[in-house]
């Protein structure tokens, strides 16, 4: 009899988390429209969708950071009101955010302590952090200052602080976006170990291959509604992408490489000391990109990418003019505007605050990067001789970019800050690509951008190269690198590996280079 009850109980065990008819409205916009979701223990469940599909809104409601407009959340079969993240953690829900909510000036232990409820803070927290991070293969120093850590290490802090609370459900928002393939694999091992201990994982990712590899179930959102719940094992990456976008995603066509073009970007033995204590010194960087060619630079975040970008763009100038040569002109000493005038364009990693000013309209943002250039269509200038701004032209350019690069916006010329991340990225890319620059340096062109927009951006980059421009693409996304690159180089702790043809490299080889395998040989060369 008792046995029977147990078996009955186990077959009728309610799902760990159930979401019923959840609705979230922001003003007129329905971000989540009657969402239903079941998540069982010991399973990794993927949440897929384009940017703005409502994934983040949904998990924020589950994690208590947002309150639903209507609908209910059931935890182990019982209705709960998750009115704060603290309440969610109390229930056993942990979350690793895409943009880490870490405090740079505090230590690892202090950061973790801030996120723990009172009962878990007692005893020797530093020791428990060391032990747990060691157990799961997530090496961490409890007394290290977060400001000194790489992005991968920062993610480990977030994961460890969730694990310390022994969560029943772990929500992960794009966890592998910043990791090397090897680091990603070790994360998967950690996740598999967690699920074997009964924990469920709600996994948001844009990387469909990865979802196929590790997830047991997948829910696909589009425009705030669930369009499908599928088994990712039996779907293909293409069919998943199609469900996300609602249309066929065009495979990026690579075209033919005209390899004999003129070298348009040259850096020879370029060294530069970092200007901040947390920066990376660039050490004897050699690179050459010919017209018509894309050089992709792979590497784990924080290995000198930002410094290299700053050196190439002229944000950080060098007193040796010959250090960098663009379009046949020595320009190591030139600033950004002067480099733009000789035909170069630059797109930094952070779209908000670096590429675009949030509370400026899009047309104002166009003026910011193109004020000193003539418009390539009709040779008009955005800023006249007397210093007055030609707003009509700025608005025309904005409309043109909006149309060509499919920037979705509520009004014709909204503030940059009101655009979603993916749309703003399309705008920023469009602003520079529309100039048809001879040289383009771009850092993380599709970071946090959904599959449809990413394909559009990548195709635009390839088209620009095939039309005779030289491109450097700095990226941490290996799929992207293989899709775009003619040549691949890897940056690790400020050393750049010699570029090699893309076809001759495998992901594993790049992973080894990311971990610094080439540093010794490069060092030998410099000596």
């Amino acid at each position: 009899m008792e046995c029977k009850i147990v078996s009955l109980h186990s077959t009728h065990e309610p799902p760990l988390l159930e979401v019923k008819n959840l609705v979230k409205q922001f003003g007129n916009l329905t971000a989540n429209d009657h969402i239903n979701l079941h998540i069982q223990g010991s399973r990794i469940h993927a949440l897929l969708g384009e940017n703005g599909a409502g994934k983040s809104t949904l998990v924020k409601m589950v994690y208590g950071a947002l309150q639903p407009t209507s609908g209910e959340i059931l935890w182990q079969g019982e209705r709960v009101i998750v009115d704060s993240p603290a309440r969610a953690r109390e229930l056993g829900i942990g979350m690793v955010f895409q943009h880490f909510s870490l405090f740079e000036a505090l230590t690892v232990a202090e950061n973790i302590s801030l996120a723990l409820p009172a009962n878990l803070r007692e005893g020797n927290l530093e020791q428990r952090i060391s032990e747990l991070s060691h157990d799961y293969g997530l090496t961490l120093q409890p007394d290290a200052l977060v400001a000194d850590l790489s992005v991968g290490q920062r993610q480990r802090i977030e994961i460890v602080r969730c694990l310390l609370q022994q969560p029943r459900l772990l929500i992960m928002d794009e966890p592998t976006a910043v990791l090397t393939p090897q680091e990603a694999q070790s994360l998967f091992t950690t996740l598999q170990r967690l699920t074997s201990e009964g924990c469920a994982v709600l996994y948001i990712s844009h990387r469909l291959e990865e979802v196929k590899q590790i997830c047991h179930g997948a829910t696909i959102l589009r425009h705030g509604k669930i369009v499908a719940s599928v088994d990712p094992q039996i779907e293909t990456a293409a069919s998943l992408a199609q469900m996300m976008v609602g249309a066929e995603v065009h495979a990026v066509s690579h075209g033919t490489v005209a390899a004999s073009g003129q070298p348009l970007i040259i850096a020879e033995q370029f060294s530069q000391a970092a200007d901040t204590p947390f920066g990376v010194d660039l050490k004897a960087v050699n690179l050459q990109v010919r017209a018509g060619e894309i050089l992709a630079i792979a590497g784990v975040a924080g290995n000198g990418q930002s410094e290299l970008f700053a050196a190439l763009s002229g944000e950080q100038t060098n007193n040796k003019p010959q250090a960098i040569n663009m379009c046949g002109q020595a320009c190591g000493h030139l600033g950004i505007t002067q480099r733009r005038r000789i035909g170069a364009a630059f797109i930094p990693e952070e779209r908000m605050g670096h590429s675009a000013v949030a509370n400026f309209s899009l047309s104002d943002n166009i003026i910011l990067s193109r004020h000193s250039l003539r418009d390539n269509h009709d040779q008009q200038s955005l800023v006249g001789r007397s210093g007055t701004i030609n707003y009509t032209l700025a608005r025309d350019i904005n409309m043109h970019i909006g149309k060509v690069y499919d920037v979705r916006k509520g009004q014709p010329d909204p503030e940059a800050g009101s655009l979603s991340g993916g749309n703003l990225q399309k705008f920023v890319m469009g602003r520079e690509l529309d100039r048809r620059p001879k040289v383009l340096v771009v850092n993380q062109p599709t970071w946090g951008v959904d599959a449809g927009a990413a394909a559009l951006i990548r195709q635009a980059l390839i088209d620009l190269a095939r039309s005779g421009s030289a491109l450097i693409v700095i990226s941490q996304d290996l799929d992207e690198i293989f899709e775009l690159a003619d040549q691949i180089a890897v940056i690790s702790r400020g050393y750049l590996s010699p570029a090699q043809p893309a076809q001759s490299l495998s992901a594993e080889q790049i992973g080894l280079l990311m971990a610094g395998a080439h540093e010794t040989s490069t060092q030998a060369q410099t000596l």
Binding site: F97, S101, L114, A115, T276, F278
Partner: protein
């Protein structure tokens, strides 16, 4: 009493109001709020402290009134900047102007009245001891309170969880909010604490330093306290050293003429600000210093995204 002893005594009395006002402002800024209303809160503390002591005959009731007056001004500042999300710089400046004007109005009948001077302590009867007796054991109570407050704030910020939360809120209000901390409540409490300290500093001026009410008697000390917080790079220990340094300079300005030193007193009284500019340059050239100690969200209003 030797000349040197007298000099040191005046330095202590000149430094104490800086220390009191600045230690409060340090906590406020550590929570990410820039309160430029310190001068106004201080002068309100001075007039209310003096008035209450005059009416009741008790300097301690004066101190209490001063603290309440500072807290009331701080609550107004907090309501405007945290609830209505007004610009902190503009609001702070108006609080200072309001405080200066309002204190003049309240104090118009108090000018020239005899005050209640706070009596110095005589700790264990030791102030009769030669040399250090009066210096160490014979100060008035607020001097000891200022030192205890500094030690308390240092302990609070670096040894308690509440202090960690304050530092976290000042570092990144967005992150603190996403972890479930009540950013606005934390900041309001810090602002009120800062107001109490500023009021206390005002009370020290009108009940101990010069036990009378003179309009605008804070004479820019609130601004020096603000400069001091930056000078200290938001560290309580350095703040105490800086307060005594600035106090010494302040007194030197008064002594310079009497001693016949050829330095214009205007130059000496501008020294604290010059020192602050130097400190700002050092902070900005040493990025590590600024990342670790500077509250990253200083002066930014927080609007929760729900």
């Amino acid at each position: 009493m030797t000349g040197l002893e007298a000099f040191v005594l005046t330095v202590i009395t000149a430094s104490t109001p800086f220390l009191l006002a600045a230690i409060g402002e340090l906590v406020v800024e550590r929570s990410g709020v820039l309160n430029l209303g310190v001068e106004g809160m201080m002068v309100m503390g001075a007039v209310c402290g003096f008035g209450a002591a005059h009416l009741t005959g008790s300097p301690w009731l004066g101190v209490l009134a001063a603290i309440l007056a500072g807290a009331a001004m701080a609550l107004l500042f907090g309501f405007l900047t945290q609830i209505l999300i007004t610009n902190q710089v503009a609001t702070g400046l108006s609080i200072t102007l309001l405080g200066l004007g309002l204190s003049g109005l309240i104090g118009s009948n108090l000018v020239g009245l005899p005050g209640e001077k706070m009596q110095p302590l005589n700790v264990f009867g030791l102030n009769e001891m030669p040399i250090l007796g009066t210096l160490v054991f014979g100060q008035d109570p607020l001097v000891y309170i200022s030192i205890l407050l500094t030690l308390g704030v240092a302990y609070f910020l670096y040894r308690t969880r509440a202090g960690l939360i304050v530092r976290a809120v000042g570092q990144s209000h967005q992150s603190a909010h996403s972890l479930g901390y009540k950013v606005i409540a934390v900041r309001l409490s810090c602002i009120v604490f800062g107001g109490c300290c500023a009021g206390l500093a005002g009370a020290y001026l009108s009940l101990s330093y010069t036990p009378q009410w003179i309009e605008n008697m804070t004479a820019g000390r609130g601004w020096i306290a603000l400069a001091l917080v930056v000078f200290s790079t938001w560290m309580p220990g350095r703040l105490a050293i800086g307060a005594y340094l600035f106090g010494t300079v302040w007194i030197l300005g008064l002594y310079a003429q009497a001693w016949g030193i050829g330095i214009p007193s205007q130059f000496l009284s501008s020294l604290p600000y010059l020192a602050t500019i130097v400190a700002l340059i050092l902070i900005s050239t040493n990025r590590r210093l600024s990342v670790v100690n500077t509250p990253a969200s200083l002066g930014q209003g927080f609007v929760p995204d729900r």
